[in-house]
């Protein structure tokens, strides 16, 4: 029997094949540009969640958090340079209170957005998406380690 974990890992591939096997139509493909826009929105949302988070962290972890925040900002810049367009102002709001769990969740959402981009592009854009995906997955895992949050690292970016 295929475990849920493995099925989730198979991710979009599993979903697509399962849909085909059941006779249902797979979802219509989304344009690569739209997926890049979504990844940018996810990165901006993750970036907003870092604000104020350092105050909650042990002093020794603050430099690392600051680097993670800068790296997330750099991801967003690279997406813009690749043609991604930012959404409406305010669409990536800060959490009501700084929250490590929310920052981790937003990094996981960003990882999933990058996985979507990966399958839709090739060449330099795919390399960009892989770099972004790796960064978001690293950050989600490190936030888990720094703040004692559970983290499933088997298939980051797969959709539950």
């Amino acid at each position: 029997v295929v475990t849920r974990r493995v099925l989730l890992g198979a991710g979009a591939a599993g979903a697509g094949t399962l849909l085909a096997g059941c006779g249902a139509r797979p979802p219509a493909p989304v344009a690569a540009g739209t997926l890049l826009d979504r990844a940018l929105a996810a990165d901006r949302a993750a970036l907003a969640a870092y604000r104020g988070l350092a105050a909650q962290a042990p002093a020794g972890a603050r430099p690392l958090l600051a680097r993670m925040r800068r790296a997330t900002a750099a991801r967003a810049r690279r997406l813009r340079a690749a043609g991604a367009r930012a959404g409406a102002p305010g669409s990536e709001a800060e959490p009501a209170r700084p929250s490590a769990r929310e920052a981790q969740r937003r990094e996981q959402v960003a990882a999933a957005a990058y996985v979507d981009v990966l399958g839709a592009v090739r060449g330099e854009r795919r390399a960009l998406a892989a770099e972004g995906l790796g960064g978001a997955a690293e950050h989600a895992a490190l936030l888990g380690a720094l703040f004692g949050l559970p983290t499933d690292t088997a298939f980051p970016g797969s959709r539950a």
Binding site: V1, R5, A10, G21
Partner: protein, 159 residues
């Protein structure tokens, strides 16, 4: 759903000629990635590394085997002995086995995770079938995350 049903469903989708042409080269790349995962799992288990590492590697291998079924490609047998390990894990496993402290073990395991991550990155640039690309992407991300955590445990820069 049983694994067999999943494989049959996948094969039905991907057996179409256009999809088969699009998949050119992907099966061999997925087989190589799966082999590296199984090698890593064997090395972790033999060295008594944290269980989550071997478990994740075997989960990745199972997901990649599912992809091979969907691509109508053979799933080669898995390695059973350390002597059967192939690069890159073969060259990194001895340091893991020789590690004498948790920090040394984390450092050696981080090298394996980085090698697996690089292997995925190389194949990601070449893979063609979008669903295969996305799944390998999640495996790549897993190794990126594990490497970061292990480097932190080893007292190294995690980023």
């Amino acid at each position: 759903m049983r694994r067999r049903e999943l494989l049959v469903a996948g094969a039905a989708l991907l057996a179409a000629p256009a999809t088969a042409r699009a998949a050119a080269g992907d099966p061999a790349r997925v087989q190589a990635l799966r082999r590296a995962e199984l090698d890593a799992a064997l090395a972790y288990e033999a060295a008594g590394a944290p269980r989550r590492l071997a478990r994740a590697a075997r989960d990745h291998a199972a997901a990649l085997a599912t992809l091979l079924g969907a691509l109508v490609a053979p799933v080669p047998p898995e390695p059973r002995r350390l002597e059967d390990l192939r690069p890159p894990v073969a060259g990194l496993a001895p340091a893991l086995a020789a590690a004498r402290s948790p920090r040394e073990r984390a450092r050696a395991a981080a090298r394996i995770e980085r090698a697996l991550r690089e292997g995925c990155a190389e194949q990601l640039a070449l893979l063609r079938v979008p669903d295969v690309v996305r799944t390998v992407g999640t495996v790549y991300a897993s190794h990126a995350a594990q490497a970061a955590l292990l480097q932190m445990s080893a007292g190294l820069d995690p980023l």
